[in-house]
Symmetry: C2
């Protein structure tokens, strides 16, 4: 069997206002896995990482993703995946999306790239449907596969747009070691929202996309707002209002919850700023007795890839 | 008294998905007015156009707009405005916004331009508050003053962003001679909307702003959708579904209601396309026994100005 090693980046979904429709890849943190494809049938997943994962292959998000790809490919293959490094599940930075993305990108590579990026996103979404209460979302898998900042304009049909990335777009992500599952995060959302709230949200979506396009990081920052999910989800994150206040005071252009949390991201226009914000946000959780990982990162255009 | 002549363009608000937050200026149709400023006090408005307007100066949208400007200026002046040409009120293409915009741009010019565009938008919004049930909106006045395609990210504080305009951005606007007031148009809107509907809408807002920024007219066209106001307002427009179907079949990239209607606009990527769509849309209303004006236009970056 031929084997390659794949890196699949962590991702921040929603970006504040872009609930369910936007996400971005964070470079420097992600899953690393060995993917092998050969003759035969069946999928074997081995976990060599230091993170606990379901033992049952049926419980792994990579399984439906790989099966969807092979089904579209039309030939049975033997696939083996060895997970070397894993984003902690429940972090809010696209742990399951990185797994699905890495698996489909790896298998596609070994099959000679029969599928383009959008098809790979569709396959990886099958993995996402295992979590999140059966809902299909692409706001983590699309940036995990395609890299950069991605807009999912619509789902039927899937319409994915790669947005311009300002040269000075950096982020600081903090992951406190508490767990919020995607299901929990979804459970607190309202089913209906006031029209006026929705208008505020789509004004910010316009501002965020406009800011990326115009290379205006101040506009990006003040558009990273969320009047829909953040008010409902912030209670999962200890001292969230105080954390946000401190990060903004320390120079963050915008701060919000990554995906359904508990990770929090800040937007900033320099690597020094990202490093400093990581320290500020980590200190916040340490003071509360909560361990936290931090990831300062430039936003790059690279998605899951052979390394 | 010094006098200048001002042209203030018609505008299409909402652009489908961008309800209350987006609008664009249409060149070639608008208000024309003579504006005079001199020593003294009081505002006189003369209507030399062929459109009926309120006789009472207190009922004219220009009055609160001009007063707001003079109040900020801090000196009393005599202002006289003679309306030569007027967009028909109730058309849906920013008739009142053009009046307010032309008035404040003209007075500002004669005072030596003490105010920038955003301040002028704020003054003109005072005019808009006379209509529309007291609500403050800038999605017509902002493009009428600034030109091009404008995003109002938020209202407190007013955050207006001029978006890039693709070179091949054209529109066809049809104004059937039926009247829908802004109040009527607002009265049918839901107060709450399902979260899923809101997500669809802000996905399209992202697509529309992204399409403008990327110069992707196909993306602009498929993002000019509205799952919030169009379903409620289309019943004011005779045969709307059929009209839309015909325009799309004739090559429109997107079709929607201009503002609160009854005008309808189509998005297209050539002037020939805009001309053809105007014919198709006019024929639709003529067949129903309804007179209609049409305006094919390139989207230009020019707002209200001295002519």
């Amino acid at each position: 069997m031929e084997m390659i090693r794949i890196f699949a980046p962590a991702t921040v979904a929603n970006l504040g206002c872009g609930f369910d429709i936007m996400g971005m890849a964070i470079d420097g943190v992600g899953d690393v896995m060995e993917v092998s494809v050969g003759e035969g049938t069946g999928l074997a997943i081995k976990n060599s990482s230091d993170v606990a994962l379901p033992d049952d292959v049926e419980g792994n998000v990579m399984t439906p993703a790989v099966r969807a790809l092979l089904s579209a490919y039309g030939q049975n293959k033997r696939v083996e995946i060895n997970i070397l490094k894993k984003i902690r599940p429940g972090s809010g930075i696209g742990s399951s999306a990185a797994s699905s993305a890495g698996a489909v990108v790896g298998v596609n590579e070994l099959l000679g790239r029969p599928f383009g990026a959008v098809r790979l996103v569709e396959f990886a979404m099958e993995g996402e449907s295992l979590i999140g209460g059966g809902a299909h979302h692409a706001d983590n898998v699309a940036p995990a596969i395609m890299g950069g900042v991605v807009l999912i304009r619509g789902y039927s049909p899937l319409d994915i747009i790669q947005l311009p990335i300002p040269d000075n777009f950096y982020t600081a992500v903090v992951h406190p070691h508490i767990t919020v599952t995607t299901c929990e995060g979804r459970g607190v959302l309202p089913r209906e929202i006031p029209l006026q709230t929705a208008i505020t949200q789509w004004g910010n979506v316009g501002g965020l996309v406009g800011g990326l396009a115009l290379g205006d990081m101040a506009l990006v920052g003040r558009s990273v707002r969320d009047v829909v999910a953040e008010p409902a989800r912030k209670h999962f994150i200890p001292g969230y209002d105080e954390l946000k206040h401190r990060a903004l005071a320390a120079g963050a252009l915008g701060v919000n919850i990554a995906g359904s949390g508990p990770a929090v991201f800040a937007v900033v226009d320099s690597m020094e700023g990202a490093n400093e914000l990581c320290e500020v946000m980590k200190a916040h959780f340490m003071a509360l007795g909560i361990e936290a990982d931090v990831y300062p990162s430039k936003i790059s255009g690279q998605g899951a890839r052979v390394v």
